[in-house]
Amino acid sequence: LKAEEDHELVTGALQGSQRAFREIVERHHSVAYAAARAVLGDGDDVEDAVQNAFLKVFRGLHTFRGTSKLSTWIYRIARNEAINVAKKAAPDVIPVEGVELRVPEEEHPDARLERRQAGEMLEEALANLDGEQRQAIELRYLGDRSYEEISEIMEIPLGTVKTHIHRGKLMLRLMLKRRKLPARKEAGTS
């Protein structure tokens, strides 16, 4: 039913309906945002990437054939747009086999531990997660999507989605521990 509604919205937007245009953005904004955030972290350029992605979506809407879901299509465009933004803006992003990994900047661990909150530490840990794990986690939490929806959007099996998210969370815990910041203790005090 959702796919049919998406198809109707695409038809409406192609006919110049602003209402359909708005509806498409509202429905899929969280997916695009999660995809961009998974690549760019919490920088200022995430929103720009999302806007550019939707511009590309609407400029290329006539090429959308409906062979994949609209959310999958928008997710891919947003992710590619974010990767392009990251390549232009950040020299510290190194593509490794199609996966973007952020190289941590030089830091003074003790000073950072004192002033950083659990949320900020988590962002750093997220930036160092495996690409697919992070995409799945961002779609789950920022995108507020179910495992089934993530499976459709990323076009991977449901079991793989669960594995990515579960292992991703365990990895996050490990990274937070390695930084000598017990997640439980820190979050409890913040």
Partner: protein
């Protein structure tokens, strides 16, 4: 089952996504193993912090507003086009002419009399306007027909223009 194996199951256990037997087995293990209990507690906190990040997601309306900025301006332009462009410009000109004729040729004092009702005011106004047109035409039937025909055509055009503009603005 060893702690390392249990640890891998804890994220699914927190989501109650394990088969009942495994769910019970992990629960039992966590009651006895402080180390795995810590893992579960840490993961619960991470889950909460991850969920809290959702509040920081900007509203879709901001993206819509940014993307429709151009379209929004064109809607305003549509209204301006409607008010001052095409057939409406001619209508405004005709109205201005009518007002000028009325001001110069009618007894304006009578129109503003407090004793007059709205209907009387309107009928007086239209009567004076017709008289004004008759005066301009000099009573020539052809000029009168051209003026009234032109006005009718203008009204049809303005109506069509209005309907089209409203339909465009609603989209």
């Amino acid at each position: 089952m060893k702690c390392a194996e249990i640890e891998q199951l804890i994220p699914a256990w927190l989501e109650k996504d394990l088969p009942p037997e495994e769910q019970a087995m992990v629960s039992l293990h966590l009651e006895r193993c402080a180390r795995c209990g810590d893992v579960a507690a840490d993961l619960a906190v991470i889950e909460t912090v991850l969920e809290m990040r959702r509040a920081a997601v900007p509203p879709a309306s901001r993206t819509v507003a940014a993307l429709l900025g151009t379209a929004g301006r064109s809607r305003a332009r549509t209204i301006l086009d409607f008010a001052f462009g095409g057939p409406c410009l001619a209508a405004w000109t005709m109205l201005a002419l009518g007002v000028i004729l009325f001001v110069f040729r009618s007894k304006t004092v009578f129109l503003f009399s407090p004793k007059l009702g709205l209907f009387e005011r309107l009928s007086f106004l239209s009567e004076r306007l017709v008289q004004g047109i008759v005066h301009v035409s000099g009573g020539d039937a052809w000029i009168l027909a051209a003026v009234y025909g032109g006005l009718t055509l203008l009204m049809v055009l303005v109506s069509a223009w209005t309907v089209m503009s409203l339909a465009r603005a609603r989209q």
